[in-house]
């Protein structure tokens, strides 16, 4: 019986091993829990899952195994439908709207949504259905969002309380969901951990020899701190215009980065980097910083992160005079390349949803300029990006 359960967990991409399955069987054998599903849930979770970011996946697998997904239904009764409709329409892109009308309108959509839910969960990554993948699409996210369509098993006939695993209270800890300050910090710490390796002291041999000699042959040990390889970070934030939609997530990233790094410098730009960037957005015209100065001030060992949606007219990158704010003698791509060739490692983080990238040719252009090192601004994207930075 537990083998099937184990396989179900693996299907839901909960990383658990045979060793842990054996542990679980031993727990049952020792009668730590006995014939109580709630206790079993808790104990099996403690034994099989080792990170709270997998709790949500575990909950879904558990619900699937013990109830079967056939009972998952949408509880739409509490929400006025018109409101829902409007809310959805606001959140959908044009492409999606077209697809919805092709599917027979919102009513039909709701039905299919229920059917597709399970399908989508199984194909958590890489799915190409319109519900969206990874829980980050407006539709998909809404589908799981407590404020939107609530998905959960509710046995209305018996007025039974919702089971713990159906509450899915660890949803926020799943690392595919959108970024939060705490999540960002954890992701950023991957950068920091390399800065911290070998924090202990080492023997300073030369010093020890001369100190011992001076000490008339009596041993005098000298230690010196091991060299730290502190990460230095240079960040460029796109501000204004289309970035207004992404202020919140950028703010979170900003505050998380701020507390994590000792060597951190940041600049702002608008849409694309041209000859100037600026440090204070209020004084962008009075105190611009020359890109050449940036290049000369900061060594090539600084890691560079651009944060921007790269959503603009393609000419803003590729043509002289393309900037919407001033006449630029050289195209933005030239300035970008100057920065990129000076610094060893750089990435671009894009708060736009990844599946929308293909609709904007400017994103394509920018992506090729940064040698494909463009990542979505989610925890997963950040993690990948940081890997590329190291």
């Amino acid at each position: 019986m537990l083998i099937d359960f184990f396989c179900k967990l693996r299907d839901y991409k909960v990383p658990c091993t045979i060793r842990e399955l054996l542990d679980l069987i031993r727990v049952l054998e020792q009668h730590v829990v006995f014939a109580n599903i709630d206790d079993f849930y808790v104990v099996s979770r403690a034994v099989l899952v080792k990170d709270e970011s997998y709790f949500d996946k575990f909950d879904r697998a558990f619900a699937d195994y013990f109830k079967g997904v056939s009972t998952i239904e949408l509880d739409l009764s509490a929400i006025p439908e018109d409101w829902l409709k409007k809310h959805f329409e606001k959140m959908l892109s044009d492409e999606e709207k077209a697809k919805i009308s092709a599917m027979g309108g919102l009513d039909k959509l709701m039905e299919t949504l229920a059917e597709r839910l399970k399908e989508q969960e199984e194909r958590h990554e890489g799915g190409n259905k319109w519900i969206g993948t990874g829980g980050t699409s407006p539709f998909g996210a809404n589908g799981y969002n407590p404020e939107g369509v609530r998905v959960g098993q509710e046995n209305s006939r018996h007025r039974q309380a919702v089971k713990v695993w159906d509450k899915r209270q660890y949803r926020n800890l799943d690392d595919n969901v959108e970024i939060g300050t705490r999540n960002i910090k954890v992701a950023l710490r991957k950068l920091r951990k390399f800065a911290r390796t070998g924090a202990s002291d080492v023997l300073a041999l030369d010093d020890t020899i001369s100190a011992t000699a001076r000490n008339a042959g009596y041993l005098d040990i000298k230690m010196k701190p091991e060299r730290h390889n502190a990460i230095k970070l240079l960040m460029f934030f796109d501000v204004g215009g289309s970035m207004d939609d992404h202020i919140k997530v950028c703010e979170q990233l900003f505050s998380a980065v701020h507390t994590e790094f000792k060597h951190l410098e940041f600049f702002y730009f608008h849409n694309c980097v041209y000859e100037h960037v600026w440090r204070d957005n209020n004084r962008r015209t009075s105190e611009p910083v020359d890109i050449h100065k940036v290049i000369h001030t900061y060594g090539s060992d600084y890691k560079v992160i651009f944060i921007g949606d790269a959503t603009m007219g393609p000419y803003e990158i590729t043509y002289p005079g393309g900037s919407v704010e001033h006449w630029n003698e050289e195209p933005g791509s030239v300035w970008m390349k100057r920065l990129l060739s000076h610094f060893d490692k750089s990435i671009w983080l894009n708060p736009q949803e990844e599946r929308q990238w293909s609709y904007y040719s400017s994103i394509d252009i920018m992506k090729s300029i940064v040698a494909n090192k463009m990542y979505p601004l989610t925890v997963e994207g950040l993690t990948q990006g940081i890997k590329a930075l190291l």
């Binding site: 990383p15 091993t17 060793r19 842990e20 542990d23 031993r26 727990v27 020792q30 730590v32 829990v33 709630d38 206790d39 808790v42 104990v43 979770r45 403690a46 034994v47 899952v49 080792k50 990170d51 709270e52 709790f55 209270q169 660890y170 300050t181 954890v186 710490r189 991957k190 951990k193 911290r196 390796t197 070998g198 924090a199 202990s200 042959g217 009596y218 041993l219 040990i221 505050s255």
Partner: protein, 281 residues
């Protein structure tokens, strides 16, 4: 072995009790994560107390090495002693300093070993302890002696999630995430700390506290330990219930908020919200 049901000072959720008991029964280390201030370290202390056994705390710092938990060979003092012609020098075991793990392995009664904040250490730290935690034995090269655990200690490991722990290490542990207590549980926790607190005062204070946690954008949400500090202050200052009630309905800054909000920006944010609320009325 007795099972753990929380203590007079510590309310453990059912899930936590089960996880602890499973770890005790199967002799596996238990990894505890959770928001700061939810009582991760306290669990080990209270567990030792309720089992009536010794607690061996090992607090991890960024400079801690796994070897220090086993033993350290103090070569420097041996060299010094040799220069001074001390008799001790001839026995190397005089210079072996026992670590926390050694103490835990050789304790007479099955002790509770707390490895506190394991994520603070170097990334290799957990990997270096794999075999020792698995087999509960290690080898002292200097004296050619094998230290084997008399009985497997109960090991509680806490982490604040600053680093990801290696997979091989995780597979050997049980895991529990202390989620933030619900209002009911919170009441029980407060009751344990302040048995004579006035019910109405507590209700108001708790409501205020949970409201505060709901404010979006707080850098550090107040947690259990902050609540308890705050209540302590409220009682010491003898704050009136009406003041709390007023605070809640009118959305003004709660009295003694310094105990709840530890971050300057959070206080600013809260003041701003309170101000906006007032100007709206």
């Amino acid at each position: 072995m007795k099972s753990f049901n929380g203590t007079g000072n510590y309310i453990a959720s059912k899930a936590l009790q089960l996880a602890v008991n499973a770890a005790i029964t199967l002799e596996r280390p238990l990894l505890i994560k959770g928001e700061p201030g939810t009582g991760k370290t306290m669990l080990a202390e209270e567990l030792a107390l309720s089992l009536g056994t010794e607690l061996i705390p090992w607090h991890i710092k960024s400079t801690t090495k796994a070897q220090q938990g086993l033993y350290e060979y103090d070569a420097v003092s041996r060299l010094r002693d040799s220069q001074l012609g001390d008799e001790k020098v001839h026995d190397i075991s005089n210079y072996i300093v026992k670590g926390k793990l050694w103490h835990a392995f050789t304790a007479d009664q099955r002790p509770v070993l707390l490895i506190d904040e394991i994520d603070k250490a170097d990334i290799e730290f957990p990997n270096d302890l794999l075999l020792e935690l698995d087999k509960m034995e290690f080898f002292v090269y200097e004296t050619q002696e094998k230290v084997v655990a008399k009985q497997r200690p109960i090991i509680i490991i806490t982490s604040n999630n600053e680093k990801e722990l290696p997979d091989a290490f995780l597979r050997r542990c049980f895991f529990h995430y202390i989620s933030f207590p619900e209002a009911e549980e919170m009441k029980a926790i407060v009751d344990v700390h302040f048995p004579n607190i006035k019910q109405k005062l507590l209700d108001e204070a708790l409501a205020l506290f949970f409201d505060l946690r709901e404010i979006p954008g707080l850098k550090k949400k107040p947690s259990t330990s902050e609540l308890i500090d705050w209540l302590k202050l409220l009682l010491a200052e003898d704050i009136d219930i009406d003041v709390l009630q007023e605070t809640r309905t009118k959305k003004v800054i709660p009295p003694l908020h310094g105990a709840l909000l530890k971050n300057e920006q959070d206080v600013h944010l809260f003041e701003k919200l309170a101000f906006m609320h007032r100007s709206h009325r």
